[in-house]
């Protein structure tokens, strides 16, 4: 349970070493380099935009090539392949790729070219298909498409609006161009969009004829060819066949590159690593002959890094303690169970300056509350086993994913525990199955009590757990006060509230209100009652006097104290918020019961059993999914709002070391720190 303490690293070295130094730091991957240094007349930054763009383009091309391979020659993958994580690769094979990266880059371009070829063919096919479609209405015309005249006649090939049949065309000609004689009109085809016609007339009538047809909406055929429509269609069809053949050949060519896939992944990662190096290089301050690096490094790594750099390079290196002005990045270090909740903490915010790392206490609370909300032994067991199998089967999955899955594994165990206490196994599945199908009801008694039979008791349990959770948060605040040696703060902000709340609860317990909720009257002795008043008043007085202790003006100080006392209402609402433990726990149980009841409606017959199994599986999977989501969201809320509200602010920056950030592979290192 700790925030790793950091050292500040200052480095100054000769300029000709800069790439080597950076590469060493990058492969060590434990230094976060400050990138926001300001230039002045002596220290300038170097422009690395051009090489970076070049490398980024290489990365993009390589990734494209990989995508193309994936599209045409898919890799065989399991359903859960995304959990597999990055492959480990020996350093030697990476070195080989680095050495021959020009050659491999040519492979990339070859793949891109092939894809370009495929795309061109596909575009041609689409074009041919459109041409065929537009020529199909003309297929019965047996003269070349570009026929415009014969020796004595003019020929009009084109389309009119769909309402024109042969008679209508003749009527049109007769009306608009009465002087035209011996016109000949053929309808090739008619559909809902157009009427395809061929009209012939004598040379001398051509203009009149044209005008007449145009007034009816005539447009000449758009295709130009010396072939008849039928021949043209055949030609396009043969084009399509050829293009398809081409695509097939090209795809076959791509298949040959299947074996290059792994190399290309290495290549892409290599370019990514180099691009990152150039990015950092561009942010470093450099003089004519030297360059500077400032950064942060975890304290435990400082010595070995110092030694390694001094051994290999001629440079000046200093490790200093971080000062208050530095914005120190945060790196968490926790033991396995606690570490699993780091993701939950990170999505709220890492510890800010001077704050303790609350991961360990939070992880315990998280697991307990999660189990309480899901609270079904069977669901818990399923979640536990599923997570365990995933963890065992995919040991190389990403770090963050691994942590959340192991968190859910622990949550599954906790769910199992609470489920046994409250007697939920797929809701009331056991008693339903035994009653309906075996005729003799077997009831598995809850180890503690069934919340559905006694919701008031469960409500009290929920609120009690909430109170413990909130006090725990307050105590953590006290721990921080002790660590900072702020004992006045400890008394006035922590102890006072503990006294006040504890006193109030002690006052509440013997009352009839509490008795009606708990169902049992608790009697306190007179001494205890007096004690409760004393404790409450003491707590309230401390808050009243001490809350505004930063202000000199006594009136203002008291007013602030009063306002802080009003904060009691927020305690009330925080506490009531824990009633969601009851609500969500009941939701799981009741929906499970509904599922069981629905499934068993057909009774003990063959179809009844089949329906039961179907409803059971679908219903419980649904219920589990929706309640897992609910438990996850509301546990987070209880941690973030109620628990953290008492002591934790967050706002720290995450430690992001300069390292070999890769997409596909992890290069195994022979360097050990």
């Amino acid at each position: 349970m700790a925030v790793v303490s950091m050292k500040k690293l200052h480095l100054c070295a000769m300029k000709h070493d800069r790439k080597a130094v950076l590469e060493t730091l990058q492969s060590l991957g434990v230094v976060e380099i400050c990138l926001d240094e300001v230039e002045d007349e002596n220290f300038k930054k170097m422009n690395t935009v051009t090489p970076r763009n070049q490398l980024d383009k290489h990365v993009q091309n390589t990734d494209n090539a990989l995508e193309i391979l994936e599209k045409y020659v898919p890799e065989k993958k399991g359903l859960l392949a995304s959990l597999e994580g990055k492959k480990d690769v020996a350093k030697a094979s990476m070195d080989e790729v680095i050495e021959k990266h020009h050659a491999y880059n040519r492979t990339v371009y070859k793949i891109l070219d092939i894809e370009h070829g495929i795309n061109t063919c596909e575009a041609n096919i689409a074009k041919s298909e459109v041409a065929i479609e537009s020529l199909t209405p003309w297929i019965d015309m047996d003269i070349p498409i570009n026929t415009v005249s014969t020796k004595y006649t003019k020929v009009f090939i084109g389309s009119l609006p769909p309402e024109y049949d042969e008679g209508a065309v003749y009527a049109l000609i007769a009306e608009r161009a009465p002087e035209v004689d011996s016109a000949d009109v053929h309808i090739i085809s008619r559909d809902k969009d157009q009427s395809c016609i061929v009209a012939v007339c004598l040379d001398k009538d051509a203009d009149d004829m044209h005008d007449a047809l145009r007034s009816g909406g005539f447009t000449r055929i758009a295709t130009y060819s010396r072939k008849t429509p039928k021949e043209k269609i055949e030609q396009h069809k043969s084009f399509i066949v050829k293009d398809k053949e081409k695509i097939e050949n090209l795809t076959k060519k791509l298949e040959k590159y299947d074996s290059d896939r792994d190399t290309l992944k290495l290549l892409s990662d290599y370019y990514t690593i180099r691009s990152e190096k150039y990015r950092v290089l561009g942010e470093l301050l450099q003089t004519e002959n030297t360059f500077m690096i400032t950064g942060f490094i975890p304290e435990d790594k400082a010595e070995s890094v110092e030694k390694r750099l001094n051994d290999n390079f001629n440079l000046y290196l200093e490790m200093t303690d971080v000062s208050d002005k530095d914005k120190v990045p945060v790196l968490l270090k926790n033991k396995s169970l606690f570490a699993s909740a780091e993701g939950v903490l990170e999505s709220f915010g890492l510890p800010g300056k001077g704050e303790l790392d609350p991961t360990a206490p939070m992880s315990i609370c998280y697991i307990i509350l999660f189990g309480l909300m899901l609270s079904d032994a069977a669901y818990g067991l399923i979640v536990f086993i599923a997570c365990l199998v995933l963890l065992k089967k995919f040991p190389k999955m990403g770090d963050a994913l691994k942590k959340s899955i192991s968190l859910f594994m622990y949550c599954g165990l906790s769910t199992l525990f609470w489920g046994v206490l409250f007697g939920g196994y797929f809701g009331d599945a056991i008693s339903v199955i035994t009653r309906v199908f075996f005729g003799k009801e077997v009831v598995v008694k809850p180890v503690w009590f069934a919340p559905l039979d006694n919701p008031m008791k469960m409500l009290l349990v929920s609120l009690a757990i909430g109170l413990v959770h909130l006090f725990f948060g307050l105590i953590l605040k006290g721990v921080k006060c002790i660590k900072d040696k702020d004992f006045i703060g400890l008394i006035s902000d922590v102890v006072s509230w503990l006294l006040l709340i504890a006193g109030l609860i002690m006052m509440l317990m013997p009352t009839s209100l509490f008795a009606s909720i708990a169902g049992a009257q608790i009697n306190f002795s007179e001494g205890l009652k007096t004690a409760s008043y004393v404790i409450t008043i003491a707590g309230a007085l401390i808050i009243l006097v001490m809350s505004g202790r930063d202000h000199k003006n006594p009136a203002l100080r008291l007013a602030l104290g009063l306002y802080d006392l009003y904060g009691l209402t927020s305690w009330l609402s925080d506490l009531l918020s824990y009633s969601r433990l009851l609500a969500l726990g009941l939701a799981t149980g009741v929906i499970a019961q509904v599922v069981n009841q629905m499934g068993s409606m057909l009774g003990a017959s063959v179809p009844g059993v089949i329906v039961f199994i179907l409803v059971f599986i679908i219903g419980h999977v649904f219920n589990m999914a929706i309640n897992l989501l609910g438990a996850y969201v509301h546990t987070c809320r209880l941690q973030y709002v109620e628990f953290f509200g008492k002591f934790y602010e967050g706002g720290g920056e995450r430690f992001t070391p300069f390292k070999e950030e890769t997409k596909y592979v992890t290069v195994k290192k022979n360097i050990k720190l």
């Binding site: 990170e346 008031m456 929906i591 929706i626 609910g630 969201v633 987070c636």
Partner: protein, 157 residues
């Protein structure tokens, strides 16, 4: 069948209907926003799906209360109790908190989810915080659920 049983059944029906409407609306608009995000960046599917489902709980709470009420009335085992009018009205009143609050909070949680999906679209790493805003709205549905459950359980049949 007495009038009381009718009122009680009406209460159970309202709990399911109104809170279901609220959730349907909330999940609906959140789903539209989520589709927009996924069309730009399919990798955010899981995150926005969670956001979309957040306003779905009101409907479940309504179902919960409706189910408890039905089982208390005895409709589920086929022998509905002959309730007096006042007992029936008690059931109806007991169902109202989750019915009405479920409707309103479901709608509003849906709108908050839409905004939270906007956060996820722009800053995926702020998922935890984004999730909190819709979860805040849910608090009131939970409080209403609590009162409804306690009241339904407490009505003497």
């Amino acid at each position: 069948m007495t009038m009381g049983t009718v009122y009680a059944l009406l209460g159970a029906a309202l709990a399911v209907i109104l809170s279901g409407m609220g959730s349907a609306y909330g999940v609906g608009i959140a789903g539209q926003a989520a589709s927009g995000v996924v069309s730009e960046d399919p990798s955010k599917f899981a995150k926005v799906l969670i956001m979309q489902l957040l306003p779905g709980t009101q409907g479940i709470y309504g179902l919960l209360v409706g189910f408890i009420a039905l089982s208390k009335i005895g409709v589920l085992n086929g022998e509905p109790a002959q309730l007096s009018t006042s007992t029936g009205l008690l059931f109806l009143a007991a169902c109202l908190p989750i019915a009405i609050v479920g409707l309103v909070s479901g709608r509003n949680q849906g709108k908050t989810s839409v905004s939270a999906i906007g956060i996820v679209a722009k800053k995926p790493d702020q998922f935890g915080k984004a999730m909190l805003f819709p979860a805040m709205v849910e608090t009131y549905a939970i409080l209403a659920l609590l009162v409804s459950i306690l009241a339904v359980q407490g009505v003497p049949v």
